[in-house]
Every structure is written in C-alpha cells, then in structure tokens.
C-alpha cells in the first residue's frame, strides 16, 4: 500500500512527541486503543484553566504509520484551540488532510477518540478541583 506524502511526512517527522505530567490538574490525558488491536494512542493536553485554550499537546503512539500520523496531526490541530473548539475536530477532517485510505479510517477515529478522552479527563480533574474548592469555601 502506498502512503500519502503527508502520512510519510508526519511519520518521519512526528510533531509533539512526548509526555506531560499526568498528575497536573491542567493536563488531560487520553489513552485509547488496545495493544491486541495493534493501535494505542496516548494524547495529552495542557489547558489554561482561565481561557480554556489548549497551550500544549503531546502524544505517543503504538501503531502503524497512519496511526502515528493521525495522532501527530491531532496534536498540531488542538494547540491554540479552546477545549470546546477541539471537541469539534472530526475524524473525517483527519482522513481528508492525510488522504487516508478506507482501511486506515480507524486510525483517524482513534485520534478523535484520543482528543475527546483527553478533554474529558481534563474536565473531570477541573470539576473535582472545583468541588474541593467549593467544599473548602463552604467550610469557612
């Protein structure tokens, strides 16, 4: 199977490879996929809690070239977007940008899942924090 130039480009020069502190309350982590299926993506976001803007994103992926490229592209796209804007990224956008063939569409689905899962994790942490803050407030 021939890969599109964009997939090869991302595969050879993946953007934003790395790790953010998963215990940081401003960091959301999404870990999706399964080793048995041959794809695991970990996508992490650092969000400014005041502006809700994603200021940093990192990923690591176990998977084929298209999976690596999809997650690399996802980190590029989410940076600078608000959390709500990032929730609007669709797998079909990734398919189009990377020219993914039908057998690789699941890679883009996984990347979309990874973004959503990371944002959910961030939101969960934030509401937990707010709950703690509110409890502390009412205890005063």
């Amino acid at each position: 199977m021939a890969y599109s130039e964009k997939v090869i480009e991302h595969y050879e020069h993946p953007r934003n490879v790395g790790t953010l502190d998963k215990d940081d309350p401003t960091v959301g982590t999404g870990l999706v996929g399964a080793p048995a299926c041959g794809d695991v993506m970990r996508l992490q976001l650092r969000v400014n809690p005041v502006t809700n803007v994603i200021e940093d994103a990192k990923f690591k992926t176990f998977g084929c070239g298209s999976a690596i490229a999809s997650s690399s592209l996802a980190t590029e796209w989410v940076k600078g977007k608000t959390v709500d804007e990032a929730m609007g990224i669709k797998n079909t956008d990734i398919v189009q940008e990377l020219n993914l063939p039908p057998v690789k569409i699941h890679c883009s689905v996984l990347a979309e899942d990874a973004i959503k899962s990371a944002i959910e994790d961030y939101r969960k942490k934030q509401s937990a924090q707010r709950a703690v803050a509110t409890t502390a407030e009412s205890a005063k």
Binding site: A36, V40, G65, V103
Partner: protein, 408 residues
C-alpha cells in the same frame, strides 16, 4: 562491494530467478515454442524433450521412482488443491475424514473448508507454542474414516519445520495417505519422498529460484499406488490428472531450479543459515525485548528469522525500513485487520503478533546486506520505541496486560 537498494529479504514470498534457470528457459521462450502434446513434428518433440528432462530433474531432487509420478501444475496452490480435493474425491467411498494443521497455508486450509461444505469432515490440529505438531497428535486424530493427512514441511511465516518423516510412519502404519506441502522446505533441507514417508508432495517453482506460474505435484505410484481425481478437465494431459497445454518454458525452468537445488542445497542452507544467525546476533546484541517466533534449530528453516520487536507495530516498522523488503504479521498489512492466523495459532498475543517482522534470507543475500539491514532495523526500533506509549509503560514497570483496554 557496493550495496544496491532496495534490499530483498522476503524470500518466503518469492525468490529471484537464478540466471542459470533463465538461460535454460530461454530457448523454450524462443525457437523451441512447440506444444509438448504435438506428437507428430519436431517442434512438439523438442518441447516434449524439455518437459521430460525437467521431470527427470525433479524426480532426482525428491527421490521419486518414476517420472510419471510428477504432475505439472500452475503452482503450489493448484498442487495443494489437486492433492487434497483429488484424494478426497477419489477415495470418498473409503472415508470422509481429513486431518491437517491450523498453521497450514491458505491453499490447504481453504481447500479443506470447501471440502467441509461438500460434507467431508476435517480435523485442524493445534500446534505448540513453537508451531509444531507431534506424530502422536496425528495418531490421536486418526479414525477409521481418515483418508488423508496434510502437513506442510516448513512454515512460510515462522519457519517451523514439522516432523514429516515421523508423521509419515504413523500414516503408513494406518494405511492413510500423507500429503506434504514442501514449498518452503524444499531446496533448504534434505527431502526424499521415501525417507519422509510421503505420498503426495506440492512443489513451487518461484520459491526455489525458478519461475512463477509453475509447480508440480508428486503422486506416488508404488507402495501404495495413489490416484487423484482430476480437478481440471480437458485434453487428458499429465496422465489425465491435470489437463491443459503444458507451460513448457516454466516447466523447463522448474526442472533447472530443482537440479540446482539438488546439487547446491547444502551450500544454500549454510549460506542462508549463516546470514540469519548473523542478523539475529546483531539484533539481539543491540535490542532488548525481542522475541523469536517459531521453533529453534534444527526445526527451523535456515533462512527464516521471525521476530517480534515488542512495543513497535510491524507496519510502522516496515515503513521505517522502506529500503528493505520484509513481511509482517501485523494486521495492518492486510485488508482484514486481523493479525496473522499462524502467530495466533501459536498462542502469541495480539500485541506481539502486530509487532512481528519476517526476514527471509536466501541464495542471493550478502553479509553486507545483513549488516546494513541490522543497522537500520536497530535504529528504527529505537526511534519507534521512543514514540511508543507501551514502551513508556514497560519502562515504568507496568505490564500493559494489566490495563483495561477498550478493543476497537
């Protein structure tokens, strides 16, 4: 010696044509174009002479007793079909049970599945973690209704060699026929139809440095005399077992490839084995967490190295070493998204199946190529592990198997 790219290390898929084979074929692609079945003019005689000589060459390689035991086909897939369906249909009054193995080539497995739809019963034997079966496994599966056992010589993915000779003792004792798909082992190890106790053998041209589109089926004629019902009807060629005008240049090429194999198989074996061990040694010296899939020597094809580079997906790996032609058991290399059924039959988990790479070393590979390949494989494994969340987990001491993953 300068290295020329890309490098071919996929000799289980196909092998390059030996120039000596091409030389033998050339006259039959030009002046000697006759139909081997034309009995009444010199063009036909010349073609027939080439075919007869090829039969002699194949007979010698496998220790057959008569040229009449060699039936030419379009390749090993057809040979497997003819052997299994041909026996099933020929001996259906004697029984309706066939035994084969889960790791066989699809040409065998899918043929058996079709026979099941016709009403035959098939036992698919499990293999051990190295991909082997034992003669006892066969003995236990035999019934009064068993007419055929089909076991391959060497596995095309993992290189595991089956104890054919010992299995043959069991089938002989019980008067059951034994078919062997010898495509991957022939020319790489000693193979004699009597020593192996086999009754039918599938052979392919393009796996032994011969041309594509030609193969043969050995059908034993004495002790016992075996008959197969033809699958292709027509002019009654090949003693009625396989009709169709003979592919004379292909057959001449197959014959020459067999002659070279008969003379040089030990040299080929040592060469491929030396290169494989060199590659394996280099990879193991530089990388941790690599797993050999398949059996250990001597139950392994000399040129086969199938390894899983843990935490690195096979297709991504192949993309990284794009100047090297290899194969992977990864799902992503096929349309089905299912990882290799052979690796799964060994009980290898999904992650390792997805991480497997098959190197196939052959007659025309060199030490320079091995050194180059080892270097870029090591580099790419390291790079892709830095990209792998599973490698992170491993370094943190977390077994990824303990994590609740959501299958997709």
């Amino acid at each position: 010696m300068t290295l020329s790219l890309p490098i071919y290390m996929d000799n289980h898929a196909t092998t390059p044509l030996d120039p000596r084979v091409l030389d033998a074929m050339m006259p039959y692609l030009t002046g000697k174009f006759g139909n081997a079945a034309s009995r009444n003019h010199p063009f036909g005689w010349a073609a027939e002479e080439g075919v007869d000589y090829a039969r002699e060459q194949i007979k010698k390689l496998i220790g057959a007793h008569s040229e009449k035991e060699i039936v030419f086909t379009s390749g090993a897939t057809e040979s497997d079909n003819l052997a299994i369906k041909g026996i099933a249909h020929q001996y259906k009054d004697r029984g309706d049970h066939i035994i084969t193995v889960k790791t066989e080539h699809k040409a065998v497995l899918d043929t058996c599945k079709r026979l099941e739809r016709e009403g035959f019963r098939v036992t698919y034997l499990d293999v051990d973690s190295k991909g082997q079966i034992t003669p006892d496994d066969v003995k236990r599966a035999l019934t009064d209704k068993t007419i055929l056992v089909s076991v391959m010589l060497g596995n095309n993915e993992i290189g595991t060699v089956q104890p054919i000779s010992e299995i043959g003792k069991v089938t002989r004792e019980r008067g059951v026929l034994l078919h062997c798909d010898a495509v991957q082992g022939l020319g790489r190890m000693a193979f004699d139809v009597d020593a192996m106790n086999v009754d039918l053998v599938s052979i392919s041209g393009h796996k032994i440095y011969g041309p594509k589109g030609v193969g043969a089926l050995y059908v034993r004629r004495t002790k016992p005399r075996v008959r197969v019902t033809p699958e292709v009807d027509g002019g009654g060629h090949e003693h009625g077992m396989r009709s169709g005008t003979l592919n004379v240049p292909g057959i001449v090429g197959l014959g020459k490839a067999c002659e070279i194999a008969a003379n040089e198989w030990e040299k080929d074996r040592d060469h491929a084995f030396g290169l494989r061990q060199r590659l394996r040694g280099k990879l193991e010296a530089s990388l941790d967490e690599i797993v050999l899939n398949g059996a250990d020597d001597p139950w392994r094809l000399p040129g086969n190295l199938n390894v899983s580079f843990s935490f690195v997906e096979g297709e991504a790996m192949m993309m990284g070493i794009k100047d090297v032609a290899v194969s992977s058991g990864s799902a992503c290399t096929s349309a089905s998204l299912e990882p290799s059924y052979v690796l799964r039959a060994l009980g290898i988990d999904g992650e390792h199946a997805h991480s497997s790479i098959r190197f196939g070393l052959g007659r025309f590979n060199t030490e320079e190529e091995v050194d180059y390949v080892a270097e870029i494989v090591i580099r790419e494994v390291r790079r892709l592990r830095e990209l792998s969340p599973l490698y992170d987990l491993h370094k943190e001491g977390i077994d990824y198997k303990t994590i609740q993953w959501t299958a997709h």
